[in-house]
Every structure is written in structure tokens, then in C-alpha cells.
Amino acid sequence: MSSCDSTATYSAKDFKSEVKPVWCPGCGDYAVLSSITKAFADLGLKPHETSVVSGIGCSSRIPAYTNTYGIHSIHGRALAVGQGLKLARPDLTVLVAGGDGDGFSIGGNHFLHACRRNVDLTYIVMDNRVYGMTKGQPSPTTESDWDASAMAPPGGTGMTPFHPLAIALASGANFIARGFSGDPNGTAQIIAEAIRHPGFSFVAIMSPCITFREEQREWKNTMRSVNIEPTTDPAQAARRLMTDDGFNCGVLYRGNRSSYGKEKKATNAVSDLDREFTL
């Protein structure tokens, strides 16, 4: 990896590493990786001032496929790691990425509190409604009647699918959007907007797993871009999210909460702290 000069601009390719993804042929995540690196390049970011943080799962392999600083952490904990990094280093651009199991099942609690906390970072979930790495179990976003899996009971789990966007809104996320891996340019634009927007930006990207959910090939026919004005009104956004069919792509909510955290500023020397203890 060569050192880059500080005024250089970077192409999407400069943000990609040489490591070959473990993903299956036809996986939507290849396109999401391209959308992310395109968004980075379009925003004029530098690889060494950008960080991609993930948990565990197919899509969570993504940091190694970028040429940024990256953390491939623990299943479910990506948001915690990413928030820690951003709070310690507000100067970096932090993008957290992962899948629906990582983010909404094992990491569900962190998702709620990351929305509430509103640290200035972007969270991308590549949602394929299945656990791919462990070979096809139902995830929190899987349809309740899906049973084409060794681990799913006949007739499906019977559990209501998680509604990540509505939950993000109710929990305080400051930017909510849906993208589709089949529309990499549109998705790159959404990601760029999400990164620019202050606070916690959540982008759910429908990214088919044709290995375990062959029927998701159909998404290319059902997903659609919507040209509606993103709203700043949570009530309107809630109605929009609860009435859409899960196929509308675009920026669905843009809040105006200020980001978490104060500017770091030392007002005392460490030795000043002794005073409190001195008799």
C-alpha cells in the first residue's frame, strides 16, 4: 500500500483493497461495496481518514475489502465499536456496516441506543432476510412464513419481521433511508447523503442472498426509487414507513437533532487532579 500525498483525490478503486471477497457469486454485497467506495470517492474523502467498522457475518467482511482503516469486530458489536471510535476521533469519517442478523438480532440493543445517542456516523445494514454465513437460518427481518431452511420450523417462525426503519425512527435516528444493491448509483448517492448528514444516519440496503433466498432475484423487479421529498417530520415519516411495502428506496426521513458529544477540550493539567485528594 503506497503512501498518498495530502492533496490527492481518490477514485472509488483507491478505496478498494486487493483482498478477494468470500461472498457467493451473485451476492448483492459486491454492489454495496462498490456503492460505498463510490460514495467515499464522490465525497472527496481520503482512505486514511476514513474507517469502516463491522461485526460478524457475510456483509461484515467488508472492512478487509476496503483500503480504509477498518475493524472487523465481534458479532453484534459493530455499532458499539464504531461509536467508540467516532467519539475518540471525531475527525475521522466512520461508517459501520453489517447484516440484518448482526444488527437487529444479536446487536439489537446497540441499534436502539445508537439511534438514541445520535453519534455522527453512518450505519449500513445489508439486509437479505437470512443468515448466510451459517447457511440459511431465518433472521429478524425474515418473513414469518418462510420455512425453506433446515432450522426454520414448518410454516415459518411465525414471528413478525422486525421493521428496522420504523424502529430507527422511534429510537431517534437522525437520517433514515432505504437502498437496493441492484441500483448501485442510487445507493451510492444515498450513502453519500447519509455520511454528510449530521448525527446517526441509518441506511437499510436490500441486498439479495440468492444462495439461500433464490426468490430474492425478484427484488430487481419490485424495488423502486421514490421521488418523495424526505421529511423532517417524524409523524409523517412514521406514516410513510408504516404504510410502504418495503420496496421504496430513497431518503425517507431527515431529522435535525444535533449530534452527540461535546468538543474535546482540556481545561486542566493531569497534575491539577491531585488537589481533590490532598488534605
Binding site: A80, A88, D91, A266, S271, L273, L279
Partner: protein
Amino acid sequence: MTAANMFLDAAAEAGYYALFGRSSGPQIRGGEAAALVRLGVDPVTSVDDTFDIMLAIDWQGVQRFAAELPLSANSLVICDPSAGDVPEVYVKTGAKIVHLHMKDLAKEIPGGRPNMIALGAIAELIGIPVGPLTEVLGKSLKKKRADAYEASVAGVKAGAAAAATLSASKRLAPAKAKDAKRWTVTGNYGAGLGAIRGGVRFCAAYPITPATEVLEYLSSALPKVGGVFVQAEDELASINMCLGASYGGEASITATAGPGLSLMTEGLGLAVASETPVVVVDVQRVGPSTGIATKCEQSDLNIAVYGLHGDAPHLVVAPNSVGDCIFTTQWGVYLAESLQTACLVMSDQALGQSRAIIDTPADVAFVGKRLQAEAPAEGEVFKRYANTASGISPMPVPGQDGCQYTSDGLEHTETGTPSSQSSDHTLQLDKRQRKLTGFDYGNHWATIEGEGDIAVITWGSCTGAAREAVERARADGVNAKLISLRLISPIRPQHMGDALKGVKKILVVEQSHLGQFTRYLRGEYDLPVKPEALSRPGPLPMRPGEIHARLLSMGK
């Protein structure tokens, strides 16, 4: 508790050293509580076998404390007859019982309170003049509430006058002249201070008894020095936020107790595998599960040393006095940063929540510093996990151009690329082990005092009681050597071997029902003789008398 804190301040003002622990019930706020104070002309690091004076403002819930408040026939019980009869458990100790009408005396003073009468009485009985007391009252009350100050001074004076008429006293030896400033500190605040001294500028944490005061301290102190404190949603978030911040270049810490440590073990494994420095202060309490949350036990040793899955060598250190919480936490930060791994600082409730008057702690030079990376030459790949001789690989800070890498919990090659090759796994395992075993920990690995045929090996808050027992045994002609381990893991076989040269018997002292420390020592060290164990669970503190008795029988 207010009166007890004032009492401690007054004793410090009068030139005494002190150790102050507290015992309270499970109530959320208020309710019965006991302040347990020991004063001395020399530094106090242990509780005593019995109390000389018990002053009871009332007897509410006293049965709950009875075992924690041992008295003898030499003890003095001061109580208010209006609070009812002295409980049988104390009567049968043979302690002298005297009455002091604290409530009535308080009623004679406008705004008077029985605890101030008690404060004046205690001071009089042990010979602390009213001067230091009113000084302390002035510092805490005068500016804010003049009326409360007047009432408190009047109460203290009335209490002292009343106590002077009692046919009882327990005079302290006169305090030695103070040659330098002293400190008043709790182990938990000390751990927070040590962390910042060591370079910590980030803390994410979830409240838990008895570690919360570490977090209270850091939440106010960190912003002052340009740091960040975050209250996380759980301990999983705490440890992982710390890892993110540490990856970003900030020395990071969290503090917890047993249940939280259990949740953090997965994150600690990531710290080890990804070689990301992080410090966790575990203020141990009685376990397993929720156990007894407000009381001390040394039973988290196994999880601290062996709790991570995989072969995951890391650092475990333990402070051995209230004041040492400052040094050992600072040292822990230094070690974690130097060695790019997780360091557990195994404090305990008796250290963390006790307050001590100590000599001003030295400002030591241990400030965490990572081995900095340099960008590789043009056309070369940066190797984050380079297989260096020391095992420590240069670590870049994000923002540094040309050193981008992915920090990974997956086994990896030297560049950080995921790998399932046995050669990469073995190489990285060796490297992560080598950096710990080859490091120079200096003489801080243990506190070693005295010489003798018997070695007392202990750790944590048992150290004070063991020290006192060794001193008492010496006075009885039985010579023992105290070895209190500060570096629990990795082991120091050479140093331990040297320390145990000529030793014929070993006594291990610890507060664990399973004898975790004894088992650890026997399993990891090649000890010259099979040790005897004095290991019993909490919540009662280890007292010098029981160790002393064992030493005398071993010395026969």
C-alpha cells in the same frame, strides 16, 4: 456516614492515618449503615480483629451487621438508652456498655442532630481535640449553611462535654508529626486517577456496584483533561466502545464487577486477538451471579485469568492497598498500551469502596505509549501484525497515511488479512504470547516484605491483614515473609523462585471458597513446597488474627 467522613477528616487533620470502610444493607437509599474506622499513627492497611469502640446511634437492622462488627471484652459500646436495649449479641461479648443521651442532647440545640453529638463524643473518647473537628465542619458547612455549621459545632461540643463525664476512654497514641502532605482517597477514585495518570482519555461504562465510583470519578475528571466519558447501554457496549476508541489511538478503560466482566469476556478476546490495548478494572464482589453486590470476595480470579475462549494470553494485575489502586491502575494502563493487549485490574470491594488517609503517592513515570508505526516504503505492504523479535508490532493511529489495516478478531497474517492457515495461527499465537512473557515488569510484579522460613503469598485486599499478621508473628518469634502478587498473569517464575529461596513453608491467604488463588499458584508455579491455604469466602473481611494464629501453628 456524613459524621464518619467528618470524623475521618478530623483524625487526618490531627495527624492520624486511617482506613474507613462502610457496611450498608441492600436498601437503595438511606436505612441502616455502619461506618468502620480504624485509626493509626502509622499507615493503616488492614482492618483489626475487633473494634475498640462501637457507637450506636440506634440499633436498626443491627443483626445484619453483627458478624461484621466483632467486639471483645475490651471494647466499649456507647449507645443511647432511648434506642432500646443493647442487643444480646453484643452484651455477651462482655464489652463495657455506657449510655449517652444523644437524642436528648441534640434536642437542646436548635437544629441539633444526634450524629454530631456522636462525633463530638467519639473524638473526646479517643483524644482528638474539638479544634480539628470544628475545622472540618467549617470546611464542609460554613460557606453553604451558616446555621447548620453553628448547630453542628454546638452538637460536637455538647457531645465532647458529655463524653468527658463518662467513666471510659480509649485514648489513641499521640500522632507523629506530619512530614509531608497526606491524601484522602478511596480505591475506586484512586483507580480513576491512576487511569488518567497512565494516559487514559476514554471511558465507556455501565454502572454496577461496587465499581460505580470509578465511573463517577472518570465522568467528571476525564472531560477536564480533554477526554471522553460515555455511559453505555450495557457492558457489551462498554468494552467494545473502548476497543473502538483505543483503535482510534486513545488509551481506554472501563470498570465493572463480576457480572459485567462475564459480559465483557468476548470483547476482551477481541482485544487480545486484534492486539488492541484496553484496561478493565474489576472491583470484585461476592459471586457467583448477583451474589452479594455490596461485599468483598476474591473470586473473580478464574474468570480474569482463564475466562477468555481460545488461547488468549493477557495481563492481570491487582492493587494491594487502597493507595495502590492509583499505582496499579496506572501501571496497568502502561502495560496494556506497551503490550497492545487487554489488562484486567483486579481491585475488590474492600479496596474500592474504602477510604484511606495515606502519604502523598509518588508521581510515577508510567504513561502508556504504543510502539508507533511508520508508513512502509513505496510498493511495500504495511504489516500491522509484523512478527517482531519482541512480539510487539508497530501500531498506527487512523489518519496516518499508508498504514491502513483492518483490525481483526479473525486469525490473520502479518498484514492483517484473514487466514485459516496453521502457520499463520501458530505464528500469531507465539507472537501474542512472547510479547507478554518477554517483557520487563521490573520489581512491580509483587510487594515483598520481611524474611523468614515461612512465606505468606496473598493478593488484593487480603494483603493488609496478612502484613499485620506477619508483624504480629514476628513479635512472637515466628518469622515470615510477605509476598503480595501485583502481576497475577503472566507468571514470573524466575522472580518467584528467587523470592521463595530458603522458604520451608508457604501459606496462601485469599478470600475465595474454592481457593482460586491457591489453585492458580499450584497450577502455574513450580512451588518448592505444597502450600497451606487459608482461603475462605466473603463477605467477612480476612482479619489479621486468623492469619496470625495459622502462622503461629505453622511456626511450631
